[in-house]
């Protein structure tokens, strides 16, 4: 039975955004409550959809309507294992961010309610991006997400926010416009083959010549590599995340950047399997560079938010590596990594945000001995940091392990070098913790208040999920696995048999 669940999921935050804007300016609190209410209802609905998906698979949720006939564009939504995981992540992080950023927008360029409304708008568009099954619709939503994010960074961030916002926008547009060329190319091939159609299912049937496929792949891949972000297209992220409010950074790194890696799985592997295989060596090397370079730069940072941004570049390197290792373990691990990275980075950014808002500075050198003054804050910070460095027992560990194992079975050298990334991760997290939280109490820290109830409320679900999925990741893996198998089949690769085969009984 299909009652347009996904449309509902997409519309609800959007309606919420409008409702939030309609609340009079004087009643900022009401506006915020309205926004939070809408995001919570969206979360509940998403949970219902996710449970339904777990039970009956994704067919029930597909919606297809012709949108622009001349372009072959459809309003087509649907879910697969990768999509649902990211939709859940989006629906989960939005209310958390709203609660955590409750007072962050007070000093913005515009009213607080517009901050909340933009976030809801971003949620709507992101859910659309993760569930679009039509390339044209995906592209439209993909580009449209830039607008709320642009205003979130430019309107509510630090002193350099305008610069950061424009840099973010131009980098993303560069990728997006090159992708547009590829999208147009897909149309032309589809039109030549018969009736033009942008539906993924139709495009997958197309017979694309080798060279064309490679060019089109590059257009898509470039856009996703900028988005993800991979070295050398990453420089916008530290600026954007460093200037934006912590909540915005969570949405940027936790959700928006996932569109890049999500797109690699769904579009690069799905539409251009041969070209993806062709590009594997280069992509893997770039991913490896991202892992190590991101980690090294993170160690050298003096600004907490920029440090976290660089850790994300390193993590995204792992995710891309898992995707392009082209093993089912790697792909599953990467998808799981996207979800777990969303959780752990959200925790890290939000706690760092709590810390920064108390002291009014993001410089690591301004802190010291926080754990003596604010033990709960320091504790959650340590927890978030440990989950970011993939401590066994916490959920990111499982995904990172799967990515490395999956990569190792095909590309030993790369996997071995990538393991260094884990060591470096321990270094940048623990160094930051040591410098800010331990040691003698610095001036200006003595009166630091510990976390209040609202702040704990925002972090608690993340902590529970990180521990829970660290111990028992099966439900998520079960959802992801079928989609991964389908993609693997599409690319036409099978997992390598283990080096030491299971010996059958001697006959």
């Amino acid at each position: 039975m299909n009652i347009g669940w996904l449309t509902l999921l997409l519309l609800l935050p959007f309606v919420g955004a409008i409702a939030t804007m309609l609340v009079p300016k004087a009643k900022a609190l009401t506006a915020k409550q309205v926004a939070l209410g809408f995001s919570l209802v969206t979360l509940v609905l998403t949970a219902i959809v996710a449970i339904g998906y777990h039970r009956n698979g994704g067919e029930d949720y597909a919606e297809t309507h012709t949108w622009i006939k001349a372009f072959g564009a459809h309003y087509a939504l649907g879910l697969d294992g990768v999509g649902i995981v990211l939709v859940v992540l989006t629906a989960l992080l939005t209310p958390i961010v709203l609660i955590a950023s409750w007072n962050d927008a007070q000093h913005g360029r515009w009213s607080e309610k517009s901050f909340f409304a933009w976030i809801l708008g971003l949620e709507a568009l992101s859910i659309g991006v993760f569930s679009a099954t039509d390339v044209f619709l995906f592209y439209v939503l993909f580009e449209a997400t830039l607008i709320p994010m642009y205003f979130l960074i430019g309107g509510f961030g630090g002193p350099q926010r305008s610069y950061a916002a424009v840099k973010f926008l131009l980098y993303s547009l560069l990728g997006g416009l090159l992708m547009l060329a590829s999208v147009v190319g897909l149309y032309v091939i589809s039109a030549k083959a018969g009736e033009p159609s942008y539906l993924l299912s139709d495009l997958m049937k197309l017979d694309i010549s080798q060279n064309t496929e490679r060019w089109l792949f590059l257009g898509f891949f470039f856009a996703f590599a900028v988005k993800a972000p991979m070295v050398p297209f990453h420089t916008w992220l530290p600026d954007a995340a460093g200037e934006a409010t912590p909540g915005t950074s969570v949405l940027l790194v936790g959700i928006l950047d996932k569109i890049g890696t999500f797109g690699m799985i769904r579009f690069c592997l799905g539409l251009f399997p041969n070209a993806s295989e062709w590009a594997t060596p280069v992509v893997l090397v770039l991913a490896l560079i991202s892992v190590l370079y991101g980690a090294l730069l993170a160690i050298g940072q003096t600004d907490i938010k920029r440090l976290i941004a660089y850790t994300s570049i390193s993590h995204f390197g792992f995710i891309v590596m898992g995707i392009f290792a082209l093993t089912s373990q790697g792909l599953t691990g990467s998808t799981l990594y996207m979800f777990n990275h969303g959780l752990s980075t959200a925790a890290l950014f939000l706690v760092a945000g709590y810390l920064i808002s108390r002291r009014g500075s993001a410089r690591i050198a301004d802190y010291g001995g926080v754990e003596k003054v604010a033990p709960v804050l320091a504790g959650t910070f340590l927890f978030a940091g440990l989950s970011s460095l993939a401590l066994p027992g916490l959920s990111p560990f499982i995904s990172e392990f799967m990515v490395l194992a999956g990569t190792f079975s095909r590309h030993k050298v790369i996997a071995v070098i990538a393991v260094l990334g884990i060591v470096l991760a321990a270094l940048y997290i623990l160094l930051m913790y040591q410098r800010t939280m331990t040691g003698p109490v610095r001036d200006g820290i003595e009166k630091l208040k510990d976390l209040n109830a609202r702040e704990v409320l925002a972090i608690a679900p993340l902590v529970v999920l990180i521990i829970g999925l660290g111990i028992f990741p099966k439900p998520v893996v079960d959802i992801i696995k079928p989609a991964v198998d389908e993609t693997m089949q599409r690319v036409g690769v099978t997992d390598k048999a283990p080096q030491i085969p299971v010996t059958e009984g001697q006959k």
Binding site: F71, E143, I147, A165, L169, L177, L178, V188, P196
Partner: protein, 529 residues
């Protein structure tokens, strides 16, 4: 000579298809009536009467065009001189719709203390006593309305001319009123007059090129009719040298009107100097007429020699996109920036034009160049007029505050107006869910369908550069602080309000559900000969 010696009995009156030409005749007829009104009606009545005549004529003409479109009849009218085909009718419809909005802007009197944007007495020396007296007496040039009608009629004829001579006559019919209108600004009259002079001189120059090209093509084919030239091309009788020279010169004349680089240099000066409503009118309508005329001549008459002129057009398309978007970055005046943006848009349009994706060219089911260009012109025209309408509202003591630095912090002063302008800019930049995106998509896919994918790559990169300067204005409006001496935002009358609202509505609708207009453009089909 022989024709003159024929006995009178052999003379047959030319057959004129009055029904099919009615939209044209209505506009030209109303223009003539407007001239008479100017001569015979007392001054106080003129504004209202002229406005009524103009609006009625445009609306009636639009309805007639709609009926013709519905009948789906395509024919060569007036002895083959005018081609009333699908693209022509479609062009007429958008020209009339955009003219209607422009005329509303022309009639706006509430934003500048009860006076229109046009000079009271164009003949009075700027800064003289005569000028001040005229202003005090609230004298107005209501001639602008018949002039506009002549221009609109000329544009309609230009887009439909199936004969090079008619093409030339139509070009002059719409250009001469525009030269005049450009020089009629009430504020900054010297710049305005300078703009008119430049436009006139360069326009006359380009007309000469066009005329010379026509003469050479006549020399090649022995006929002026587009179909005749195509026949001559297919039988390949004349001299190639004359053909190529003629094509080149004709191209210069047409590309001048389109605003293609390197024939664009008039655009920024004229756009800046002309009264802003006229700039909007020119930016939208002239471009539409010129583009359809260009396509008609090159597709219908010179389609057979496409391999000769396509390389030239490739180069011009690339130059136009690149120069238009890069030079726009350095502009400090809103109107000049929009002028360069219109040049860049001409470049995007040229990609589809060069793509030559035609229904008959072996590509099936895909979007055709004609369809793409027609749609793009719609999706470009409405936001353009809307954007210029917004420009008329940001004013200080000296009239419109067009310097970009004066727009700083506008988002604080008037969030609605700045938001609307930002939306128009996003549409120009081609951000999805706006008309500009669907338009860009259409021309790019037409270009690629025709095999011009390198142009598509250049076009997306130019779009990025273009996006930069559009975004810069948005940053300026929303992310800068409001200076103490910021310009005021005038309260618009119903005319400007409806112009902006129509532009906004079209931009939103064409971005969300472009299907109907695209289908209409597809139904327009190809040019007939």
């Amino acid at each position: 000579m022989s024709a003159m010696l024929l006995p009178l009995a052999d003379f047959t009156a030319p057959k004129i298809e009055y029904n099919e030409l009615a939209p044209l005749l209505v506009v030209f007829g109303a223009a003539c009536v407007g001239v008479l009104v100017e001569a015979f009606l007392p001054r106080p009545l003129r504004h209202l009467v002229q406005l009524a005549i103009t609006v009625v004529a445009v609306v009636v003409s639009g309805v007639l065009t709609g009926i013709l479109m519905n009948d789906n009849k395509e024919l060569l009218a007036a002895q083959g001189a005018i081609s009333v085909d699908g693209p022509a009718l479609f062009t007429w419809l958008i020209l009339l719709a955009l003219s209607l909005i422009s005329v509303l802007l022309f009639a706006e009197r509430s934003i500048d203390g009860g006076l229109s944007a046009f000079a009271g007495q164009a003949a009075a020396v700027p800064g003289s006593d005569a000028e001040r007296e005229g202003t005090a007496a609230r004298i107005e040039h209501t001639e602008i309305f018949p002039l506009t009608l002549f221009a609109v009629g000329g544009m309609m004829l230009f887009a439909a001319s199936n004969d090079l001579l008619v093409l030339f006559v139509a070009l002059e019919v719409f250009s001469l009123p525009l030269y005049l209108l450009c020089g009629l600004a009430r504020r900054r009259r010297l710049i305005s007059q300078e703009a008119a002079m430049k436009y006139f001189l360069l326009g006359a120059f380009s007309s000469a090129f066009l005329l010379f090209g026509i003469a050479l093509l006549y020399g090649y084919a022995g006929t002026m009719s587009l179909g005749g030239i195509a026949d001559a091309l297919s039988s390949d009788t004349g001299s190639d040298t004359i053909l190529l020279a003629g094509t080149g010169l004709l191209g210069v004349g047409l590309l001048f009107k389109v605003g293609g680089v390197p024939f664009h240099s008039w655009t920024p000066d004229v756009y800046q100097g002309a009264p802003t409503p006229v700039t909007g009118f020119m930016a939208a309508c002239t471009k539409i007429a010129a583009f359809v005329g260009l396509m008609r001549v090159f597709y219908v008459a010179l389609g057979g020699s496409r391999w000769d002129w396509a390389p030239m057009m490739w180069i011009i398309a690339i130059l136009t996109m690149v120069v238009g978007s890069i030079v726009a970055i350095t502009q400090t005046d809103v109107k000049r920036m929009l002028a360069y943006s219109s040049i860049a848009h001409a470049g995007f349009l040229l990609t589809a034009f060069v793509g030559l994706a035609q229904a008959g060219s072996g590509v099936h089911n895909g979007i055709t160049s004609t369809q793409a260009v027609l749609f793009y012109l719609v999706s470009y025209g409405f936001p353009t007029i809307g954007a210029f309408a917004v420009v008329t509202l940001v004013r200080d003591a000296g009239g419109e505050a067009t310097h970009l630095s004066r727009w700083a912090g506008l988002g604080k002063k008037s969030p609605l107006l700045a938001g609307i302008f930002a939306f128009f800019l996003l549409s120009f930049a081609g951000i999805p869910l706006t008309a500009g995106f669907t338009g860009k998509w259409a021309v790019f896919s037409a270009a690629w369908t025709g095999g011009a994918w390198p142009l598509v790559v250049v076009a997306v990169l130019s779009s990025l550069v273009a996006a930069f300067f559009y975004v810069r204005v948005i940053v300026l409006m929303f992310f800068s602080d409001l200076p103490a001496d910021a310009p005021d935002v005038a309260l618009p009358g119903w005319q400007t309000t409806s112009a902006v609202a129509l532009g906004l509505a079209a931009t939103v609708v064409l971005g969300l559900v472009p299907g109907p207009v695209l289908d209409l453009a597809a139904r327009a089909g190809e040019f007939i000969r």
